[in-house]
Subunit: 114 residues, 2 copies
DNA sequence: CGAAGACATCGACACTTGTCAATGTCTTGT
DNA sequence: ACAAGACATTGACAAGTGTCGATGTCTTCG
């Protein structure tokens, strides 16, 4: 069995369809809302932009604390939220954790804004 | 001077560019975060889907309270947030206020998720 | 083993947010 | 003028969120 390369996020999976489709039911609305809530914070958006614009497509967590200007526990907390929202993937390599964005997830959210 | 047909929203205008571009500065991140925060609530997403999927493209506010299952002041509050985020436009006609979505604004946010 | 360093977790706190009941403001029809 | 109805505003409260310092867990290197 192949070694698992990266942990699985707990993204609620927004499924298909735009917001302007058949009136969203409460459950679907909650899932989508959780996803957008992950984007509703300046620190997290800056983390995403740092990770997404990195060459090689990935960044070591240790390089994310200083540019954000927030404490290490706070950055760790935000990265956890981004991960659980399925927006970033992480992979532990040695002492470090490497992050990269998950384009498919962004595609889902973009589709919801059709 | 022509009579103003609809009120102007106070949308922060996200400007161009994806999140994965040159590391977002704090100010830009805050503006974007505010926009996404408007989408980060189930009630508001359902309001958007109700408005967006309405025939004629617009809905009377009076038809939005019951489907959402929340009190009239609460719905009024959410509509105000959507309006200030530039996601919906409103127009008062007689006793009623008619809402419609603002596609351009959705385009901006979609572009930010490129 | 022991020290160092990268992350994660915990506890606490200020601040924000969603919600409702009560009340206010306008417009329309009688 | 008055009553009715559509929205908006206010005040209050519970729940959620961002932040930090302190501390815990793991991995690597002497």
């Amino acid at each position: 069995m192949a070694k698992k390369a990266s942990a699985k996020s707990t993204a609620p999976s927004v499924c298909c369809g735009s917001v302007a489709e058949v009136p969203l039911d409460e459950t679907a609305a909650e899932a989508l809302a959780t996803a957008f809530a992950a984007l509703a914070d300046p620190a997290r958006l800056r983390l995403l932009s740092l990770i997404g614009s990195a060459e090689g497509g990935e960044v070591c967590g240790c390089d994310l604390v200083e540019p954000i200007g927030r404490s290490q526990p706070t950055v760790s907390h935000h990265l956890k939220i981004l991960f659980e929202a399925g927006l970033v993937a992480k992979e532990k390599r040695g002492v470090w954790v490497w992050y990269r964005v998950v384009p498919d997830r962004f595609g889902e959210l973009r589709a919801a804004l059709a």
